[in-house]
Subunit: 210 residues, 2 copies
DNA sequence: TTCCATTTTGACATCGAGTGCGATAAATTG
DNA sequence: CAATTTATCGCACTCGATGTCAAAATGGAA
């Protein structure tokens, strides 16, 4: 029963003051994704999404800050996991190794999620308005990586080196995601690992494995 | 007389059909920049900008696709220069060397332009709405670099390696710009070079010069 | 049961970005 | 002067986003 947490009579759910929600973040997110995928992002209005789950436009904006945010699923949670992963690494493990492993492990998805993920990434990297918004979400990701790099390098988080590393890491990770999303491989982790190997190698030789 | 090209009686200017422009792209861009810097980006409306140069709101949108675009100065021209620079390099010069040099040389600015440039970059990397839009403009930059890398690596432009390199290069270049803009150094080129050295070195050692 | 506190939802108004369209103003050419 | 060309203007409209307030639904306490 993957209906998640919108069931009003949820089992084990304890007493609940006030009116019960008539929808959920997830229901709105899914409805939005499907509408975006079928009609196109720009052609879908917030009213359409709200109507698809039977709520008013205003209610949509109680669950999401903006129409764009509806496509970012559980990004906040993934970000928190990345932070934990980076924070709990052994201090003697090389910086780039830690980073690669952390990015790979925070991006494991079950087989059932891959189809939707592919659609999400496809939209995010294709629709101008979503490309634009991605920069804002990715900035949060960058900050986490920059903080980690700053600790490892003994610099301030907004010094050039940590910032350059964070942005470069974001770049190769995004390249891996896009490449995966536009192909038909199942191995997202493999693409991420390959991209980070290129980065660690300084893009030096035409052939990445010596 | 830095009033540029909006002078109706321009010397040597030859005959000119139709009504003369009552403003110019540059005048609008400057007015926008000053308003953004003083009142803030969000608090400045397109009407404000148009009014500042004595023109209607509708006319603003004849010169810029959007309010956000008003801050991107001569980006298109810089992009064309980057493309030329990358295309005309000696085929035996190492890829990363060519790239570094091209980025440095396409970002030389005269001393008179540095103050405005600092404000532009500060806004672009600070205001959420402009951070977002930067992704769209930077995507054009990435495409140019990816095409160059693809030629050098003998791959298609949207293969993982060229894409990863292009995005990583963009990342470190942006880090250099931000770092420069938030400091008080005059040496933008130096920052860019340092960032690319980190990238070429794979962020391997804590100390970038071996 | 009745009343209250809490929470979600909805209706309405408002603002600003962006677009389409047609009218008008100013300039050159003949 | 008329025809043509180009730039500007005004207006109406859509849509995303925000603020405000009233209404609906629910659990708990009196």
């Amino acid at each position: 029963m993957p209906v998640a947490s919108s069931d009003p009579a949820s089992p084990g759910g304890y007493a609940h003051r006030g009116r019960r929600p008539s929808t959920s973040r997830e229901a709105l997110s899914r409805a939005a994704l499907h509408l975006f995928a079928s009609r196109g992002y720009e052609a879908t209005t917030v009213d359409d999404i709200a109507a698809a789950v039977g709520v008013s436009r205003r209610t949509f904006f109680r669950y999401f800050e903006s129409k764009r945010d509806a496509i970012w699923g559980e990004f906040d949670a993934e970000l928190a996991r990345l932070e934990t992963e980076l924070g709990s690494a052994a201090p003697d493990e090389p910086m780039m190794d830690v980073l690669t492993r952390a990015v790979v492990t925070t991006n494991r998805f079950g087989a059932g999620e891959l189809d939707e993920l592919r659609i999400r990434i496809g939209l995010i990297s294709t629709v101008p308005s979503l490309i634009a918004h991605s920069a804002v979400r990715y900035a949060e990701w960058r900050d986490v990586v920059a903080a980690f790099a700053a600790r490892r390098l003994g610099r301030a988080p907004d010094d050039l080196a940590p910032q350059a590393l964070a942005r470069a890491a974001l770049g190769v990770a995004a390249a891996a995601f896009d490449s995966w999303a536009s192909g038909d491989s199942d191995d997202l982790g493999g693409a991420v690992e390959q991209a980070f190997r290129l980065l660690s190698g300084g893009f030096g030789d035409g052939d990445p494995q010596p």
